[in-house]
Symmetry: C2
Subunit: 145 residues, 2 copies
Amino acid sequence: MFSDEYFMQLALQQAENAFDEEEIPVGAIVVCQNQIIAKGYNQTEKLKDVTAHAEMLALTAASQKLGAKYLKDCTLYVTLEPCVMCAGAIFWSQIGRIVWGASDEKRGFQKIQSKILHPKTQISFGILQEDCEEILKRFFARLRT
Amino acid sequence: MFSDEYFMQLALQQAENAFDEEEIPVGAIVVCQNQIIAKGYNQTEKLKDVTAHAEMLALTAASQKLGAKYLKDCTLYVTLEPCVMCAGAIFWSQIGRIVWGASDEKRGFQKIQSKILHPKTQISFGILQEDCEEILKRFFARLRT
């Protein structure tokens, strides 16, 4: 019963929720020891928030449920290959396993590499660089004392 | 007065808030027509949420303030080069410009490329692939009718 297909079917139900609300239909669930601890579906339109992808909402909900930042013993099921943002969040979560259904040839993290930022976004860096470095050094120095 | 250094100084004040709360000290602000419309500092420990980076909180707050998903005419000031997650969110926001202070040689999005996921995270894909593709096709077909 507790196959990858079983859990993906539940992720698809989440995607159906998004579909019904006229959101791009992607759904996700987080499973820990065969228990569903979190679920989410894309709500970028409803929340007017580009960060409200299914995976992001599910990861945040899973951490709230566990009371822990890291999800090492969990599996994320998601109907579509994560984008770079979600892949970055998945990295930080240290989640144990990720399973997706459809691949995303356009914005999936596996194909994206150099296309991480929007081509219209201008970049500047090095502003107050020393100050911005110093606060980090000061923080980690304090940690070591 | 409204120089990049001026706004970066305000982002640094946000980083100081994080520092004072024993969070890794990164701060961000979003500026639109020389007005600060949002600010944020890293709160991953306090919120037990790996997605609660300064940039993510500032982007979400900016969209709430504007009542719009996209931030085309805005500039994001952040004290540290964004990670891949934040760079992905910045992509989706279509923000007009990004300015950072310190570079992040370890997890900055410019250097990361193939290291997007955590090395311990296992990957599976293609589970219920056709169903997962079909719901997306159905959604976009509906959009076109």
